[in-house]
Amino acid sequence: MAVNPFQHADSASSVSGPPSGGDYLADSIFRIIALSCAALIVVLILYILWEIGGLALPAMAQHGLSFVSGTTWNVGTQEFGVLPEIWGTLYSSFLALILGGTFGVAIAIFLTQDFIHARLAAVFRTIVELLAAIPSVVYGLWGIYVVIPMLRPVAEWLHSELGFIPIFGTELSGPGMAPAALVLAIMILPTVAAITVDAFRRIPYKVKEAAYGMGTTRWEAILKVMLPTASSGILAALVLGFGRALGETMALAMLIGNSNQINLSLFAPANTLASLLASSFPEAGQIEVQALMYAAVVLLLITLIVNIVGLGIQQYTVRKFEGKT
């Protein structure tokens, strides 16, 4: 009666068996390939810094910090300074953030705080997502032929009536800061809205129920409970939206007027780092390319810092809520 119940398991006809040496080998090779691909992403960003930094090195050595504080960009005399571009980048992004941030957060509140039926909310969400899907050049084209003509009478009126205020100090002669910032605001709205919606979704539903249970109106619940609770997530949304605005290129290159000047006026043409690269790079000679690489390093550092700060706040938010619930 000593029949081994497992005998059939290692009979020659059985398909089961421990993994063969080949299986082990394939497994570890696969693991190494996957690991190197994951490492590649980290290497990629270092390589990007290395390559751009390497080409910018001659310009860095030559111009030093005066590159960041200089205000002229003249290939003939080899004077390169990007202060107007840094100013234009920060100013346009800041204006876009005020407008796009307000709209983005308001739309996120609209979508998440039971203002509309879920099906209608899905329609609005699709609209916001499509806003993000439209290519930058198409926004640029739309800006040239729709936004600028639309803004011109408004700008004229503001300049003639309120011209003594510096931000309305010049006339809008075509491309300029205002149309660029307006289009930029539309482009960062989806980013801000999406991350803010996510921040609101992370708040446990019972928080809102508790507020309503105490007899708050909907807006008291939103302003006194939901917004403070979601505040770090909203901050992350704004910072990441700002980062998006800093690096935006084509629409700005088409709308901002590419003029090297520092002007508070909303209607004056200006320039940004990214649009300087876009407009000067294709025709640049050896020396100018080095200076442009330096400008690229400046842009890279600004956006990396802003993005890392934004992501840091976002991760902090996620941890905060995962700890609580």
Binding site: I33, A34, F115, L131, P135, S136, L141, Y145, A274, P282
Partner: protein, 296 residues
């Protein structure tokens, strides 16, 4: 024990009213803010409709067989089209997909399954997230420094620049989708004696496929619309491409170049090209949605 008499009722004058009065300040504030939010939501969707109307009106009027099959016109020439730019865009997006999807997928496998908590995975994930906010023009500058300086302007360089931008989207979407695969399915496969790579190839990838494809489609849609990275990697060309190592036309650069020209014909073509570009982007977006809906 306490002095408070729980049975006594407050005086009629002291009792708080639970009645909602429509003209009370807090109710009014609520109403005004609600109206404001509706206004903002509607105002915020106006640009999309304006863009669509302009595209259909201006671009639709010019979009004909000639626009889709002819080469771009020079200066004062009438007619013409942007066939080479459509081909160029599709070829470069295909190159970018061929580079970024395998690398992104393998990286995502490592991040989601092989070693999700290792320091490398953490760093890699953070870098991928940082790269999603990476200015697209810098991808162009990078590719210029690596490829264009040595090999000249080409479709391959354009494809590499787009791949840098697609990579983080693919990685993060694929990782997210593989993490959604139920643990019992992988446990069952391990229990049957599968090796790790067998579990990944035969269980995790097929199950996570819809999510992965959604991510890939969204990345493709994004790359198709990009123009900044192509400006000085693929440059532009007025002719059909004959090989991959030569300057190549793309829809987005054509729109950029034509938008600033003083000729009506070119501007009309820019609108028509925008319409085609938006349609291409939308097709991939819709595909992403359709595939995403079939998720488990």
């Amino acid at each position: 024990m306490s002095d408070i008499d729980l049975t006594s009722r407050p005086q009629e004058s002291q009792r708080l009213s639970l009645e909602r009065r429509p003209f009370e300040l807090r109710a009014l504030t609520s109403g005004v803010l609600t109206g404001l939010t509706w206004g903002i939501a509607i105002l915020g969707s106006i640009p999309l409709f304006s863009v669509i109307i302009m595209l259909v009106a201006e671009g639709g009027a010019r979009l004909d067989i000639e626009a889709l099959t002819a080469l771009p016109p020079a200066g004062f020439e009438m007619g013409g089209g942007f066939a080479n730019a459509i081909i160029g865009t599709l070829v470069m997006v295909a190159i970018a997909t061929a580079i970024s999807v395998p690398i992104g997928l393998l990286a995502a496998i490592y991040l989601a399954i092989l070693d999700p908590h290792s320091p490398l995975a953490g760093t890699s994930r953070f870098v991928a997230k940082t790269l999603t906010g990476f200015p697209s023009i810098l991808a162009g500058v990078f590719t210029y420094a690596v490829l264009v300086i040595n090999f000249g302007y080409s479709a391959v360089a354009g494809g590499v620049a787009l791949a840098v931008l697609m990579l983080p989207t693919v990685v993060l979407a694929a990782e997210e989708s593989m993490k959604q695969v139920p643990k019992k399915m992988t446990d069952a496969a391990y229990g049957m004696g599968c090796t790790r790579s067998q579990v990944i190839w035969k269980v995790v990838l097929p199950t996570g496929l819809p999510g992965i494809l959604t991510g890939v489609m969204l990345a493709v849609a994004g790359a198709a619309g990009e123009s900044a990275p192509l400006l000085f990697t693929a440059l532009f060309s007025n002719y059909f491409m004959s090989e991959l190592m030569e300057p190549t036309a793309s829809l987005s650069i054509l729109i950029y170049n034509f938008s600033s020209m003083p000729f009506d014909n070119q501007i009309e073509l820019a609108w028509a090209a925008s319409l085609v570009l938006v349609l291409i982007v939308l097709v991939f977006n819709i595909l992403a949605r359709l595939i995403g809906q079939s998720k488990v």
